[in-house]
Amino acid sequence: MSLDPAAIRRIARLARIRVDDAQVAQMQGELNGILGWIDQLNEVDVTGVEPLTGGALMAMRMRDDVVTDGAQAEAVLSNAPDRDGPFYAVPKVVE
């Protein structure tokens, strides 16, 4: 399947990346090239194959539901682009 400019804009919107018309045209060519190449996977017979989700055949480890770290507000906020006291600051979202 081939992506049209509207599809590129929809994906960019989902990915929260601003794109202009020139970028849409360029991405359309590149993404369709990559997806066309990926289509070779349709040759593979995957009937009855269980998908492999993780990096290895290992079971996810459970841990005790306890607090292991915390009370480090200053460290957490130390990289904030904008802050207001102990809060991250963003543009107004409610009128």
Partner: protein
């Protein structure tokens, strides 16, 4: 003289008090000052920190209180968070980021007394095979073709780490490998690099790209040096849910084992159409060396090899699109303002990410989106299961596999940039190893016709890095690779 020592030799000289860490570190800091303007292997050199750590190492050595790496100067790929030292991941979006914590791998190295020379350059978010996608400029390969001074790429994504080690701007370096990012640059720069088994090194504090594939490992100038570094970097970490609770064996001891009686598999699908004859010759030579050393060579088949790359370019971007959702301009990193929150996100990510990162986020977002998930992502996960099964089947019969590390030697800066798929083909021999979570090591065993290094890859069973080191050390002894790059300290 200082630059001729391997990591193991430098460690022994430090312990014998023949040299001090201060002397060794001062030499390497000088090498960085001399060569970094040309090679750009480091984004952020940290000479003051390095010299302070070297002084502390000398105090420890004087009192006999040394660890495995006390006083050894290393480069740290700028993907590992380092407390109080800027960590960029090669991206503009993390330009202002100063981690308030230390990654587990770098904590382990510091625990063992290592000295950190600075943060090494890389492809942006480790996405690339040339180091051309770094927001902090390309890295130049210290090697050049004979009679041709045009700059070559060091490979990627760990291009800064590999170039630093090859040019004697570090004794060793940390690196990471999601689809070949340790092994391909090691091969391009004529050094050794191992991606260990998935789960061997903690991913905690390493900037995430594709979490089911990402794995840290070392690059260094010898197989033994890599073994020493991996021993320090490895170990169970409760903070990484995929960290393996496995004992860490003596990897350096395994280098001395030899290969007598080992069965070495040769996967026929790695003989690609149009592969350079010199790569084929290198491979045959490697097999002959192992046979001479007492190994048995066995032809094997990994039938789904050709689907590895296409599978990777679904799985890795899908995971990347999810991992990179955190860069929103709100909690850390760079921000571009907008009139409302959505515009702030969109502007921040448009300005902060480079073209290759955006391309992969877009692919990943698409293959995970409603209506396409089954056709792309789920199918890729099933093919991934078949790739793993191929390896599981052959490892019933053989102890390790030998393949070429890359389809070509290093290429020129600016080449292979027009079509993303051409660039992706660099990783054809390395990607299946990540898909299956196996250990893989690349080492230099010869030169091509223009004098550039070429590497072989040794692949092992899960958590059997010891056999990988045994086979690789045997190849290293037989190859006697002693060529050095054009650009190097002490030259």
């Amino acid at each position: 003289m200082m630059f001729e020592l391997s990591l193991a030799e430098a460690r022994d000289a430090l312990r014998a008090r023949k040299i001090s860490s201060r002397e060794l570190t001062t030499a390497y800091v000088g090498a960085i000052e001399q060569l970094n303007p040309e090679i750009n292997a480091y984004i952020t050199p940290t000479p003051d920190q390095a010299l302070a750590q070297a002084n502390a190492a000398d105090t420890a050595l004087a009192s006999g209180d040394q660890g495995a790496l006390t006083g050894i100067p290393l480069a740290i790929k700028d993907l590992f968070c380092t407390k109080g030292v800027r960590t960029t991941a090669g991206s503009k979006i993390l330009g202002p980021f100063i981690p308030p914590y230390e990654s587990t791998v770098t904590s382990n190295l510091l625990r063992d007394g290592a000295v950190f020379l600075g943060k090494a350059n890389l492809d942006e978010f480790a996405m690339g095979s040339s180091n051309m996608t770094s927001a902090y400029g390309a890295v130049t390969n210290p090697w050049t073709r004979r009679g041709d001074n045009r700059p070559l790429v060091p490979g990627g994504s760990s291009g800064g780490s590999a170039a630093a080690v090859a040019a004697r701007m570090a004794l060793g370096a940390t690196a990471t490998d999601t689809g070949g990012s340790i092994r391909q640059p090691a091969a391009f720069c004529g050094i050794v690099g191992i991606k260990p088994t998935y789960g061997r090194c903690s991913r905690w504090g390493v900037v995430a790209f594709a979490s089911s594939l990402d794995q840290a490992g070392p690059v260094a100038r010898t197989v033994e040096d890599c073994a020493i570094l991996l021993g320090s970097m490895s170990g169970f970490d409760p903070k990484d849910s995929t960290s393996a609770n496995q004992p860490v064996p003596d990897f350096a001891a395994a280098c001395k084992r030899g290969v007598k009686g080992l069965r070495i598999g040769v996967p026929r699908e790695y003989r690609m159409d149009g592969m350079a004859p010199e790569i084929e010759a290198l491979w045959q030579q490697g097999l002959a060396w192992l046979k001479d050393a007492g190994a048995e060579i066995v032809d094997v088949s990994l039938p789904h090899t050709k689907y590895g790359l296409a599978t990777y370019y679904i799985v890795a971007p899908a995971e990347a699109s999810s991992n990179l959702a955190r860069y929103d301009g709100v909690r850390f990193g760079a921000r571009s303002d907008g009139h409302d929150l959505t515009e702030l996100y969109e502007n921040t990510r448009a300005d902060g990410f480079g073209a290759e990162v955006k391309r992969r986020i877009m692919i990943g977002t698409y293959v995970l989106s409603a209506g396409y998930y089954d056709a792309y992502y789920l199918r890729a996960q099933k093919v991934r299961a078949l790739i793993l099964k191929d390896f599981t089947d052959v490892f019933r019969d053989v102890d390790a596999l030998l393949t070429p590390a890359t389809p070509t030697a290093a290429f020129g800066q600016g080449e292979k940039m027009d079509d993303p798929v051409t660039m992706y083909l660099n990783d054809v021999f390395t990607v299946p190893v990540n898909m299956a979570g196996l250990p893989g090591l690349a080492l230099p065993t010869g030169l091509d016709a223009s004098g550039l290094p070429l590497g072989l890859q040794v692949i092992g069973r899960p958590f059997d890095e010891e056999t990988v080191f045994a086979v690789s050390a045997a190849l290293e002894r037989a190859a006697g690779f002693s060529a050095v790059p054009t650009l190097r300290a002490g030259a």
